[in-house]
Amino acid sequence: MSVRVFVPRDTTALSLGADAVARRLEREAQQRGLELTLVRNGSRGLAWLEPLVEVETPAGRVAYGPVAPSDVPALLDTGLLEGSDNHPLAQGLTEAIPYLARQQRLTFARIGVTDPLSIVDYLAHDGFRGLEAALTREPQDIVEEVKASGLRGRGGAAFPTGIKWQTVLDTPADQKYIVCNADEGDSGTFADRLAMECDPYMLIEGMAIAGLAVGATQGYIYLRSEYPLAKQVLDAAIARAEAAGYLGDDLRGSGRTFHLEVRLGAGAYICGEETSLLESLEGKRGLVRFKPPLPAIEGLFGRPTVVNNVLSLAAVPFILAEGAEAYANHGMGRSRGTLALQLAGNVKRGGLIELAFGTTLRTLMEDFGGGTASGRALRAVQVGGPLCAYLPESQWDMPLDYETFAEVGAGVGHGGVVMFDDSVDMAEQARFSMEFCKVESCGKCTPCRIGSTRGVEVIDRIRANQNRDANLALLGELCETMEDGSLCAMGGMTPFPVQSALKHFPDDFQRAPEGDRS
């Protein structure tokens, strides 16, 4: 019997040579007269083990990683196809790898398990159960279920998803839209990408359910152009879902309609801000809009629009299939369900970690992450993307939930956790925050457009020891102005990483940039 061997093809696995591993496996197997069926699955999200090759055995799937093409002959010699553990790269049963076994995978239950484009696989793993349930229910009923789940926007703003849907449902219009914000621009985040590349039908299903809930017949996925593979996978999945009746004019014979299209961004970070995104979708410059009106009332082309992050929409099929309570049973306080954390940067074992709210950074970075990749001491961590604070060690034991983080001026954001070792120069990081804002500001409001340029200059003067005290005071005032006077989070939150660096790592601002640090 032919043995099934899995070689992932998400961006990370491919970036580390997964295609070459797959080719080598096929060639070696052919030369040796071995029968194997190669499956190109998604990634399990254990990035440090990629390319992670799995073999199906009677006991379950057995993992090997990270595999280089040159490892393949020895792996076959030592019994790869029998799932033998006679090789240094053997990791045992995949599901028993502690990093994976300790997680609570609700949204990411299928990633890496299935062939991302196989509808058969998707159905075999609970796929489309949420949509089938939604098709039998009234719109208000679906909205109530999402409200009861406690789901809050996973893009970073944490607004209750059900409330947003209610507003769109309650606003009469000839056309409504579901827009998925897949402009995952925060450094350190890749959960949206994994969801789209490894389980695209989950997002399609979530968007179709949202359409049924609010009465929208057209959806758009606004995807960043930096994700070429996700574009390919989503386009293919949408075509297959249409052919199978999960999208189109007659969803599963119900007479209900939902069409879906992927639209590419064009390398503008600001288009992750929802109103800028809508402008871009309309074919314009991505300038931020004033709010109100809320997009839920006047959104895309002036019509009521649900704008949700990939992970918010991706959580919906589970909620509809298993019930709101099953989702809300996870988490703490007002942060219900699970959070997809992404362990990134200078980390030994980086990857995707889906856990109920309430875990600590220390658990993540030490127990899961195993410390830094460089082996040096961990010094700072930026949680939530380039607009969120850098946290020093004294803040690594707070429980990860929206409210606790907000209390100390930090953010959970989209769940990115970027680790830095003790070679980091926090003044340089603060400067970069301002520089990034300068590059990516949409230019509509002055505090953001001009403030970021002035911010770079002031930090340069501080680092060069020019009028240090006066410039430090000026930087404080500038940050205050940007925070209070900017139109959106771009200018409004850029001061957070800057101020946190100043507050927690003041020594780094005391020395010349080219200082002789170890």
Partner: protein, 164 residues
Amino acid sequence: MSDSREWTPQAIQAEIDALKHKPGALLPILHAIQDRFGFVPEGAVPIMAESLGQTRAEVHGVISFYHHFRTSPPGRHVLQVCRAEACQSVGARALEAHAKKRLGVDYHQTTADRDITLEAVYCLGNCACGPSIRVDDEIRGRITPEAFDDLVDELRTQPLEVIG
């Protein structure tokens, strides 16, 4: 560059006509033009403006707003180096300095032999395995300066690979 990449007003018009029925068609049209010709030629602006009922200034404004769109032809390969925080924490600053030195160009510039255009990018979503770069549509992780040199050699020798 092959002939199929040479733009003509007719070819531009064909790309526009295939997409202009879509709501908010300008970005999809710009992508289609850049995907086909490698850049958005200045001469395409009035054609787009005319077809979409917009002013040239509006179309130009959109092109110049987005980092992705370029108005001059790139080299045979576009190489993007990630400058964002997760890559910074594992040596992206040293990598970008190395890349500029090795190629002898700054960002938004093309090597004299027209092989490689160097660009900055802010996150490729490969943040657990940085530093990351993108070569055309392929993303590569854990790029050391040595790996970068190997890649550049590989890109520059590719046209000669007919015997391999």
